[in-house]
C-alpha cells in the first residue's frame, strides 16, 4: 500500500473538492478499495474518507420509489423493511454476495464501483490492460475460467463481480452522482460500461464524480422475481453466472413486463431488451424461456476455460424465469435450487 494524504470531509461539496485530483480516491466501506490498495493495484495519493457524509439514509421518493443513500451499508439495505417488502429482488441479490462481515462494511456506492476479480488485474506481476493500459491482457489465452463471455473486447475479458448491481440493472435503478460539474442522474444500464478500447474505465463516472444515491423506481416486482447465483462453492464466492429476473404478470398470467439481467458474464450486468421483449405478452413456459435464454446470450463467445458459462447462463435464465413466474424465488439460505 502506498502512502497517501488522508482527508475526512464533513459535507459533500467539500468531498467533491477534495476528490477532484487526478490521484484521488473516495473511501467508503473500504472492502474493495483497501483490498486493491494492499495489492498495489490502486495507488491513490489522496484518500478522501467519505464515511462522515450525510448519505446514510433510505428514504421514500415522491414517485413511489425509494432512494438508497450511497453510504448505507449493503447489510442495512438488504435488511431494511421497505427494501425487504418492496424490493425483495434487491435484498436477495445483496444477500447472495460476499459475507455478512463484508456486507456490514460495504456501502451501496462502493458496491457499484468495486473492481473486477480477474486474477491478472489483482496480480501486479502480470499483464493487465485494465490496471496498466497497453500492457496486454493475461487472461486472454491464460486462466480465464471466471471471465466474460459477452461484451468483451480484445483488450479485456474481465467481469463485474457485483450481485447487487445485477438486481439494480433489472430494477432499472438510477444512479445519482455529484461532481465538479454539478449533479446528474445516470440510468443504471448506462452506469457500467463495456471494456472496448478503454478497459481501465469500469463506468461512466467523470473525473471527481461521487455517487450520492441509488434511486429505485416505483415498480418493484415484489411478487415475481428471483436472484439465482451459481458459483464454485455454496456461499462466499463470486458468481460464475447469476441471473436476476423481474416479471410483471397480467391477471390472465401473461407476462406484461420482463427484465432479465445476467451477472458474472460481462464487464457490466448484462441485459438484452430483445430477449425481454420475446417474453412480452406470452404465457410463461419452457418454450419462451428457452427463446429468451438464447436471445440474451446471443453472440456469447467462450475463451476456452469459461465456455461452459454460455450453456450454464442459458439454463440459469430458464430456471430463474420459471422461479419468478411461479412466485417461488430462490432462497439464499436453502441451497436447493427452487
Amino acid at each position: 500500500m502506498i502512502r497517501f494524504d488522508y482527508a475526512r470531509p464533513a459535507d459533500v461539496s467539500e468531498a467533491v473538492r477534495a476528490g477532484s485530483g487526478e490521484h484521488a480516491a473516495f473511501l467508503a466501506g473500504g472492502t474493495n478499495l483497501v483490498d486493491v490498495m494492499k495489492e498495489n493495484v490502486a495507488r491513490p495519493l489522496q484518500v478522501v474518507d467519505i464515511n462522515r457524509l450525510p448519505l446514510t439514509d433510505i428514504e421514500a421518493r415522491e414517485d413511489g420509489g425509494l432512494r438508497l443513500g450511497a453510504l448505507v451499508t449493503n447489510a442495512a439495505t438488504a435488511y431494511d423493511p421497505r427494501v425487504q417488502q418492496r424490493y425483495p429482488l434487491l435484498a436477495s441479490a445483496i444477500l447472495a454476495g460476499a459475507s455478512p462481515q463484508l456486507r456490514n462494511a460495504a456501502t451501496n456506492g462502493g458496491n457499484l464501483n468495486q473492481r473486477t476479480r480477474c486474477y491478472y488485474f489483482y496480480d501486479v506481476d502480470t499483464p493487465c490492460n485494465k490496471r496498466n493500459p497497453g500492457e496486454g491482457c493475461g487472461a486472454i489465452g491464460g486462466v480465464n475460467r471466471i471471465h466474460a463471455i459477452l461484451g468483451a473486447s480484445d483488450q479485456c475479458i474481465a467481469t463485474h463481480p457485483s450481485d447487487m448491481c445485477v438486481a439494480l440493472a433489472a430494477l432499472e435503478a438510477h444512479v445519482q452522482v455529484t461532481g465538479p460539474d454539478g449533479d446528474r442522474a445516470i440510468a443504471f444500464s448506462d452506469y457500467h460500461r463495456l471494456p472496448g478500447d478503454e478497459p481501465w474505465r469500469d463506468n461512466t463516472l467523470r473525473s471527481g464524480e461521487l455517487v450520492t444515491a441509488i434511486d429505485l423506481p416505483a415498480e418493484n416486482f415484489s411478487t415475481h422475481y428471483t436472484y439465482l447465483k451459481l458459483r464454485d462453492r455454496l456461499s462466499y464466492a463470486f458468481a460464475l453466472v447469476s441471473v436476476a429476473v423481474a416479471l410483471r404478470l397480467s391477471e390472465d398470467g401473461r407476462i406484461e413486463v420482463a427484465r432479465i439481467a445476467l451477472g458474472g458474464v460481462a464487464h457490466k450486468p448484462w441485459r438484452v431488451p430483445a430477449a425481454e421483449s420475446l417474453l412480452q405478452g406470452e404465457q410463461p413456459g419452457e418454450r419462451v424461456f428457452q427463446a429468451a435464454a438464447h436471445a440474451i446470450t446471443e453472440g456469447a463467445v467462450g475463451q476456452g476455460q469459461n465456455s461452459f458459462k454460455i450453456e450454464l447462463a442459458r439454463r440459469a435464465v430458464v430456471r430463474a424465469l420459471g422461479q419468478a413466474a411461479a412466485g417461488t424465488p430462490q432462497s439464499q439460505t436453502d441451497k436447493r435450487i427452487a
Binding site: 485530483g21 490521484h23 483490498d35 494492499k38 474518507d49 447489510a75 455454496l234 456461499s235
Partner: protein, 177 residues
C-alpha cells in the same frame, strides 16, 4: 497534495515520500477509551496486533477472504483487515479479548470449547466474534441460517459442524427468557 512528495507520474508512485504526520485517533477498544497516533494506511487489524498487542484478532489472508480478523464495531461484525483505523474515529471496537477471559468465558467461548468447535484455534476468535455479530443481527433462526450467515469465516481444520452446533446452542438459549 503534499508538495514535499515527489510523484513519479508514470508509475503513480510516491518515489521518495516524506513522512506524513500521523493522525490522532480516538477509539474505544474493549470498553477502554484510547487516544492513539496512527498513520492513515494502518489497518485496524495491524493496529490491534502490532501496536495494541491484542493478538487475539487473527490475520488469515489480509484481504477480507477468510474472516479470521472479524471484530465488532459498534456491535456489528466486520473484517478488521479492510478497515483503515483512521476511519473509525469515535467508534467502539470489541475484539475477542473483550468478550471473555479464561475463568470468565463468554457463553459462545464456553460453547465452542464444549462442542470442540475448533482445532488449531486460529480462525476461532474470528468465528466467535462473527457468531456474536450474527446473534446481534438477529436474522438467524435455524441451522441453515447459521451455516449461511457464518460463511464469511473459513475454517481450514473443518470444524464447521461443531461450530454450527455451538452457535445454534447459544442462539437458542438466548431466545429463552
Amino acid at each position: 497534495m503534499n508538495p514535499a512528495v515527489t510523484l513519479d507520474r508514470t508509475s503513480g508512485r510516491r518515489v521518495a515520500a516524506e513522512p506524513i504526520a500521523s493522525l490522532t485517533l480516538r477509539l474505544t477498544v474493549n470498553g477502554e477509551e484510547r487516544v492513539l497516533q496512527v498513520e492513515p494506511w494502518t489497518t485496524l487489524l495491524d493496529l490491534l496486533r502490532d501496536k495494541l498487542d491484542l493478538t487475539g484478532t487473527k490475520k488469515g489472508c489480509d484481504h477480507g477472504q477468510c474472516g479470521a480478523c472479524t471484530v465488532l464495531i459498534d456491535g456489528r461484525r466486520i473484517n478488521a483487515c479492510l478497515k483503515l483505523a483512521v476511519t473509525l474515529e469515535g467508534q467502539e471496537v470489541t475484539t475477542i479479548e473483550g468478550l471473555g477471559q479464561p475463568g470468565n468465558l463468554h457463553p459462545l467461548q464456553a460453547a465452542f470449547i464444549e462442542h470442540d468447535a475448533f482445532q488449531c484455534g486460529y480462525c476461532t476468535p474470528g468465528q466467535i466474534c462473527s457468531a456474536q455479530g450474527l446473534i446481534n443481527e438477529g436474522h438467524a433462526r435455524n441451522r441453515a441460517d447459521v451455516r449461511e450467515q457464518m460463511s464469511g469465516n473459513i475454517c481450514r481444520c473443518g470444524a464447521y459442524t461443531n461450530i454450527a452446533d455451538a452457535v445454534l446452542e447459544v442462539l437458542e438459549q438466548g431466545k429463552q427468557p
